[in-house]
């Protein structure tokens, strides 16, 4: 391929196919529908399968089923559909089934502001399903990054046997930018882990391994998968000595690998008095705001988060240690700011918010930098 003008949702599709996605189950909703439409055309060509399910609950259920059948699988939705997916998202986290859930965020709550951009699902991505659970959520800031982070989402889901959420927003999904996939030819693709042990010795939840391999159904291993808390063999258990290691392992597999999972860019933060921490389309305004501020001789740094969950507390603490002020612009009423305030202390953090369906303008962030 050569350089084309591509939409974010289309780049997500290209990334998914490149990552080896071979199943999509979904239900139409703006601003994500292009992903389903494009995959319905593209998947069969590569021997993959597409199905439009009866709702988003069924969509994620089918995705999990297909993943257990051995296909890399994904779904795409927006806020209302993401709400419906929460129970099965928890199932995927508990049963440790790799899958990718794309949420192209629009204004909420409820049917909300269809289909103006929003970053209102940040906390839902973290805590939308009930019960403590590990989760990974990534936020692209451009069309090209939608492509690379979609591949990363699949890779992380395989590496850590976990659902991964790609939190896009309407602007990133619908925006068109020049894009050349050939520039990313060397991105590695992680395949489903296989096991070398015979079926009698296979434990799908082997507590001696950080991430035990998931063998597909139909390969002769005949094991059990459940959303009940389970022992190493996958069978339900109430025994403390079996439940405890499970909790430890599923959190350790993420927490021990924060340096790989937590992706971000930093720009000029060494001697910065003020640091802006941004993600998604808001980060684009932040880049511009920081340029303007520097021209006015403010010492401003920028941290652009690609991974928002898990949140790398220690790293953010370290990066922001020298700064006097941290500014967090978001198209919500301060969701990731809650996390940043928790880590850096409320006194240091200033929020810049907008929930009227309009993008946060560079000027808004600039003003915050000036008064910081």
């Amino acid at each position: 391929m050569t350089v084309t003008l591509m939409q974010g949702n289309a780049a997500c599709v290209e990334g998914a196919l490149r990552a080896g996605c071979r199943f999509f189950g979904g239900y139409p909703i703006t601003p994500s529908s292009e992903i389903a439409e494009l995959l319905s055309r593209r998947l069969p060509v590569v021997g993959g399968r597409f199905i439009q399910m009866e709702d988003e609950i069924a969509s994620l259920a089918a995705v999990i089923g297909a993943s257990v059948g051995g296909l890399k699988a994904m779904t795409a939705t927006s806020g209302p559909g993401f709400s419906l997916m929460q129970e099965n998202l928890g199932y995927a986290a508990a049963a440790e089934i790799p899958c990718v859930i794309v949420d192209v965020q629009r204004g909420g709550p409820s049917t909300g502001l269809p289909t103006a951009p929003s970053q209102g699902d940040v906390m839902q991505a973290r805590w939308g399903t009930h019960g403590d659970h590990p989760i990974i959520a990534l936020c692209p800031t451009s069309v090209a990054e939608t492509y690379t982070l979609t591949i990363e989402a699949f890779n992380l889901s395989e590496d850590y046997r976990t659902p991964v959420i790609l939190l896009m927003d309407e602007v990133i999904g619908h925006m068109r930018e020049a894009f050349d996939p050939d520039r990313y030819g060397d991105i590695e693709v992680v395949d489903r882990m296989t096991t070398d042990v015979p079926p009698e010795w296979y434990f799908p939840y082997d507590e001696t391994r950080a991430v035990p391999p998931l063998v597909s159904f139909g390969e002769g291993f005949r094991y059990h998968i459940t959303g009940l808390l389970h022992d190493q063999a996958g069978f339900p258990t109430y025994r403390q000595d079996e439940i405890e290691p499970w909790w430890q392992r599923v959190f350790a597999k993420i927490n021990d690998n924060l340096d790989r999972i937590f992706m971000y860019d930093e720009d000029g933060i060494e001697d910065a008095r003020t640091i802006v921490i941004a993600y998604g389309s808001t980060a684009r305004s932040a880049v511009h705001a920081v340029q303007l501020a520097r021209r006015r001789r403010y010492k401003v740094g920028l941290i652009t988060l690609k991974t928002i969950w898990p949140f790398h507390e220690a790293l953010i603490e370290e990066l922001a240690a020298g700064a006097h002020r941290v500014i967090v612009p978001e198209m919500n009423l301060g969701q990731l700011a809650l996390e940043i305030e928790r880590v850096l202390g409320r006194a240091k953090v200033r929020r810049v918010n907008r929930v009227d369906g309009e993008l946060i303008a560079p000027r808004q962030i600039l003003e915050a930098i000036e008064v910081a």
Binding site: V45, A58, A61, G65, V68, G218, E219, G220, H224
Partner: protein
């Protein structure tokens, strides 16, 4: 003709998982026995069978059988199974659900799986109540019956699992009871042979909740009433409508040859690949994977 008795233990995780969660005398175990005998008669490898179940007493079945098993979320078993079947069209996928599971919370998935006519064998264990949660009324609780959430009487009209399945387009629909375990087994076997969405309603009972509340007696009494209150399709044909009204009609209620979903999708793959001119190249890795997995299985059998 006398049928050969299977070694039922061969299909159970009997060393690990028994005794099970079901109350002594519950009908669900009889359905389990019928399913196992049906599979044994089909002579299919356990590796090629998946049992996907929902949540409830019925949904607990998957933990006990030595197949590829998945205990899913309440009502969603058919949707999980749909994804698995798409990924592994060669697999025999059984879906075991309770009446609340299949028809209340899972009603939408039920009608759409039937409409798509995807090759799944759906077994609905109908005990007319929510057993696991303690006897609340379900979409099949009779009008007038008592339930823990209908302490005066149930005023909702029940609907028929089989009528719903037929109206939604399932290619095979059958019903029997846990009293008629052999008949149930034959109906399940036929359903599994069917290339398409097959629904088998297994009428059961819950003496622990429904039985206690409605004073219908012991498991033996409830079994007897399944016997007395049911008629075969042939016998039902001779009855007046009024006589038929409260009877459980047993037998194959629908059996059609209809286009099956995964087979139709395989044609989409062919068409899409032909149109893209990439037929051979794209299909190759999949074929390789299938070959490798078949080889692996052979090696294991030789060991």
């Amino acid at each position: 003709m006398k049928r050969e008795e299977p070694e039922i233990y061969e299909y159970l995780r009997h060393k690990k998982k028994f005794p099970g969660v079901w109350c002594a005398g519950c009908g669900i175990g009889i359905v389990l026995g019928s399913i196992i005998r049906a599979i044994d008669h089909l002579h299919i490898s356990k590796d090629d069978v998946a049992m996907i179940s929902g949540i409830g007493c019925s949904g607990r079945m998957s933990v006990y059988v030595d197949f590829n098993t998945m205990h899913t979320t309440h009502g969603r078993a058919l949707a999980f199974a749909t994804g698995l079947k798409m990924a592994r069209p060669g697999m025999h996928v059984l879906v075991v659900m309770g009446d609340g599971d299949a028809l209340a919370i899972g009603g939408n998935h039920f009608i759409h799986a039937a409409r798509r006519n995807i090759d799944l064998t759906a077994i609905v264990i109908n005990n007319n109540i929510y057993g696991m949660t303690g006897g609340q009324y379900s979409p099949t609780t009779p009008q007038g019956a008592l339930a823990t959430t209908a302490p005066f009487r149930n005023i909702e009209r029940p609907f028929s699992t089989c009528d719903l399945a037929m109206a939604a387009g399932a290619s095979y629909v059958a019903r029997s009871t846990v009293y008629h375990a052999r008949e149930l087994e034959r109906l399940i076997e036929r359903g599994m042979r069917k290339a398409g969405f097959a629904v088998i309603e297994a009428m059961s009972y819950c003496h622990t909740t429904f039985g206690k509340l409605n004073r219908t007696g012991s498991p033996v009494d409830m079994m007897r009433s399944l016997q007395e209150n049911s008629v075969s399709l042939a016998a039902a044909a001779k009855l007046e409508d009024a006589e038929k009204k409260n009877k459980i009609i047993r037998g194959v209620l629908a059996d059609h040859d209809l286009p099956e979903y995964t087979a139709e999708y395989a044609k989409i793959i062919e068409d899409a690949q032909a149109a893209a001119g990439s037929n051979v190249a794209a299909a190759q890795p999949e074929r390789d994977a299938r070959l490798a997995s078949a080889q692996k299985r052979r090696v294991r059998e030789e060991v």
